[in-house]
Symmetry: C2
Subunit: 607 residues, 2 copies
């Protein structure tokens, strides 16, 4: 079946949905028998718990990894990610990839022979949906003896399939990974698809879909592919690759033919595509994408995605304008609103939509960590590849030594002691997830982090800590009221654009908030300014005036007044200096202050 | 000629370049005779100083304003901007618009009869450039007896023509206005154009361009137009207009035909276009756009744009992804580097490339002010529609009263007195241009403003003050060394992300810098923090800690140390408090400090 030494894989075929057990499609039509082309890599373990389904995009096929013959010029389309020791590690996982329903690479589609007529289906093939593709994959998985998939992973159309899997078969999927995709095709995407279909259908060789497979609407299909190819790149990457360079000359030719290198590239993409793809499949698959709307039949996206039980990892790419990051964020926010396990990272890349095939390193770290933590959820740290929290012990009461050795993170020790066992915790500005990791280990909390820095959020995800790449200054409007027991904001208040809005939002989504900040009222700070007339630099305010990331200066007194004005209840105040906690003259003596806040007006501080 | 009462205009025709006086095209080919279709609005004044040429985009024509017949359903394509009392005011200006060379709306193009063969030119028509279009316009302008154009204005391809005008005929153009355009077609634009041309040429009805004008490659042309239309909108505007709504039903049809409203819209745009446009013209004009690169034949864009003598106004639109704002900014920065009169605004809009036709209000204010100040350059304020500086007198020495009545702008009075007559001045964070306006009036300076706020930069431009929409935190790298006598940064240092980089850049581009900031060492500030333990709020620091836009707190002492470390020379220090200037214990007594800085190390302050 597989030759792991040479990485030689053979595409396999199975016929499913034999009449009279045809599959009923979303349209109501029935279809069967259905031949499915698929490949597998690795070995299914005895528990059947390590199966990963990889879903391909528009023009892909079942050959995701390895070589079909030693003479192949190229390996499978996602060989960068799938293989021994790679992020979808075939020594650990049993990986399945099948050609989609309606395809032209071995699975039944419009170019297959219709057994009823013994002719090609052509336009007699029923219009299919992403749901129908997933339906056929489900039958394949059952045929392979897999009850539960550890993960379904896909980019673009493949991501639509993964999302559909989690919504349609919530008990059969433990996790999904959605790359460069959307919960529905938007107007612009439908428009591009429609132009492509028009180009195929306008070709005089199209002949209502009954073309000779050796001829057919080659010009129309090439035009559709050229157009689609532009949408897979980005303005920046096209500029970088081609600019305005000419093919054969440094002089304009003053003729109407193709002469810029970017034209040559598109001509080549179009010409290559018509030799390997079927025009009718192009019509059917783009139509399925246009039809895709996971919320269809539901009152809202929220209601639709509430079906999902799987852990979800969403990855978007900054320059992807076919499925722009906001489409991924719609999915992320909806799943977060539903209180499900969600992680998200928007990878900075100029590779456009194709980034999901090209940004191998940035994806790999997150994907491998996410998969391993799905496989072994109980072992938080042993399986954590970056060993984020290795050897880090959580003292029950912080010792002065512990405080002194981590002056900037004194508040972490305090926070760990303030959070109740088993709580739901949102950590804003979670950095690499150290605090959430400690809370998960010592308090058994369910955590979610939010972090603006891509590298840091990726580290969280790699360590099995659910985290969302995002900015509190853009608000928490995606989260419902009282969806967390605690919302944490550790030493971050002073760098926010709008700390008042942030606090209001935190108190809306959390029962309690724990906030810490450097105290500008600390005596060393006051003295430096008063006696020396200089902006202060201290251990907790370590920056020269012109380098400081802190946007705001505030004292304990300022913060108390602020809470009073905003009717925020102060449940606890803890004042920290280098020797530990202090209670006497805190606004003078504390370098850092930590507050437990609530909306209750039972304020412990008199005003 | 014109009926201004009814706004009825008649398209006129003139034949130019009669053999043997044919025009030599950029390709070297000669072409003549050339018929030109044009319209005019308003009356040329006796000095011939009020002529404005409006250039149309790809599918436009000479009919820019008014009605050709009272029965017309719609007025000309830019009637929102051109007319009595409109921003291109036909009671003040003589406006000309002509159909471009190669067009199909009355000017000679591939659908015209070639007098040599008495057949249509078809693909025998020579390949033309934007330069050739402008060449023909130049001949028309001479025919109309106009020596100098007050302005050449255009959007998209029209903007390319305007830029070409200023570069090719620098002495014939006093100003140009470039909307939603570029200095060259980039790789992505060439790619879209190439797909469109492929669709036309692949149509079996194209017949190498020798199609029957009543038939022709209608399907191919429609596909090209559908595709182009997507690039004229934005993802956001398509989502807003169409979303995923269906034409006739609330149920998917499960067929392969067009059914989404966005498809209907594109079908309609395609079908309408083929009835009014010629496919060969589409090939020639998109090729001319692909060929457009104003730097072609020069070593750099800088060298090419150095030819320009005209005042330049550049306007881009935030959601325009066909000609994204960075393309406009390339023009702006290059012209600024060349030390020419340049203004720029990036208008926030979700209308995509079409915004240049739709954002009438936002464009009008700037355009009308820019034109009137070009017509009457000497009358800065009388013609300034917003009357920005009306009645504002500049006292030679600021009186205590003046200081008290404008506490936040004390420094303006000082700065006016520090700047030499006739200097070149860059004002960073110029707001609505008040300081530059005062300096222009009382010191006869040549000013340039830089401002992040769109409304404020638009007010500057409307008032005849050259200003660039931009952010000092992104640097001044576009400006060459020592290109200004003074660079001003008034009460802005403390809000910058990177004040050190900003100051270094300011001292690179200016001989001297004048910087003012609120003094955090002022005794009231110190006392509030020291005795009351609160973040201070004063007249010069008027914000509560959580609302402050100030990112940095600094004192006079901090600033002196900072200058010393960066080897910045302090030529003058002026300390201001509410009673005027102060010299005694400035770091305690001054609310605001003003510095004249230079790279010379002749520091007046001892360290």
């Amino acid at each position: 079946m597989n030759d792991l030494v040479k990485n030689i894989v053979t595409t396999q075929y199975v016929t499913l949905a034999h009449p009279p057990e045809e599959i009923t499609l979303d349209s109501g039509a029935v279809l069967g028998p259905i031949e499915v082309a698929y490949e597998t890599y690795g070995v299914l373990n005895t528990e059947g718990s390590n199966a990963v389904l990889v879903c391909h995009a528009l023009s892909g096929d079942a050959h995701a990894a390895g070589w079909n013959t030693p003479e192949d010029a190229k390996p499978g389309w996602w060989d960068t990610m799938i293989g021994p020791g790679k992020s979808i590690d075939t020594t650990r996982y049993f990986v399945v990839c099948s050609n989609i329903l309606g395809g032209c690479k071995g699975t039944t589609g419009p170019s297959s022979i219709n057994p009823k007529t013994e002719n090609r289906y052509g336009l007699q093939f029923p219009v299919i949906t992403v749901g129908d593709m997933v339906h056929v994959q489900y039958a394949l998985i059952q045929h392979l003896g897999i009850k539960t998939l550890l993960s379904v992973i896909g980019g673009s159309l493949g991501g639509m399939q993964a999302l559909e899997w989690a919504a349609r078969y919530p008990n059969a999927v433990k996790s999904i990974v959605l790359l460069a995709t959307s919960h529905s095709n938007g107007a612009q995407q439908i428009a591009f698809d429609a132009v492509g279909r028009n180009a195929i259908q306008a070709d005089s060789e199209f002949k209502e879909g009954n073309y000779d497979p050796e001829a057919g609407p080659r010009k129309g299909l090439a035009i559709a592919r050229m157009l689609a190819h532009i949408t897979y790149l980005s303005d920046q990457s096209m500029h970088r690759k081609f600019g305005r360079t000419l093919r054969d000359s440094d002089q304009l030719g003053y003729h109407l033919e193709s002469e810029f290198n970017v034209e040559t590239y598109l001509d080549h993409q179009g010409a290559r595509f018509v030799n390997r793809f079927d025009a009718n499949t192009y019509l059917y698959v783009t139509k399925a994408m246009d039809y895709f709307d996971i919320a269809s039949g539901f009152d809202s996206l929220d209601e639709s995605l509430a079906r999902i039980q799987a852990k979800v990892l969403v990855v978007s790419f900054s320059s992807d304008w076919l499925f722009p990051p906001y489409m991924s964020q719609d999915i992320v926010h909806t799943i977060a609103r539903n209180g499900k396990d969600i992680s998200y990272c928007n990878i900075k890349s100029d590779a456009g939509h194709d980034a999901f095939l090209l940004e191998v390193d940035a994806i790999s770290q997150m994907l491998s960590g996410f998969l391993i933590h799905t496989l072994y959820p109980e072992r938080i740290c042993e399986n954590c590849p970056p060993k984020l929290c290795e050897g880090r012990d959580v003292p029950s009461v912080p010792t002065p030594e512990a405080v002194l050795s981590r002056p900037r993170r004194v508040d972490y020790d305090m926070i760990v002691n303030l959070v109740d066992e088993g709580s739901r915790v949102l950590d804003i500005g979670c950095s690499e997830g150290e605090l959430l990791c400690r809370l998960q280990r010592s308090r058994n909390i369910t955590g979610l982090g939010m972090e603006v820095d891509q590298e840091k959020v990726a580290r969280c995800i790699a360590c099995g800590i659910a985290a969302i790449h995002g900015d509190i200054d853009r608000g928490l409007s995606q989260l419902p009221d009282n969806s967390f027991d605690y919302v944490l904001l550790s030493m971050t208040l002073q760098v926010l654009k709008k700390p008042d809005l942030a606090l209001k939002e935190m108190l809306r989504v959390g029962r309690k908030c724990i906030v810490s900040f450097p105290n500008f009222g600390y005596w060393r700070v006051r003295s430096t300014l008063f006696f020396q007339g200089r902006a202060p630099v201290t251990a907790h305010l370590p920056y020269a005036w012109h380098e400081s990331p802190n946007r705001h200066v505030l004292t304990i007194k300022d913060f108390r007044n602020f809470c009073s004005k905003l009717h925020i209840g102060i449940e606890k105040e803890i004042f920290l200096h280098s020797d530990g906690e202090t209670r006497f003259l805190p606004n003078l003596r504390a370098e850092e202050a930590l507050y437990v806040l609530s909306t209750s007006e039972n304020n412990i501080v008199a005003h």
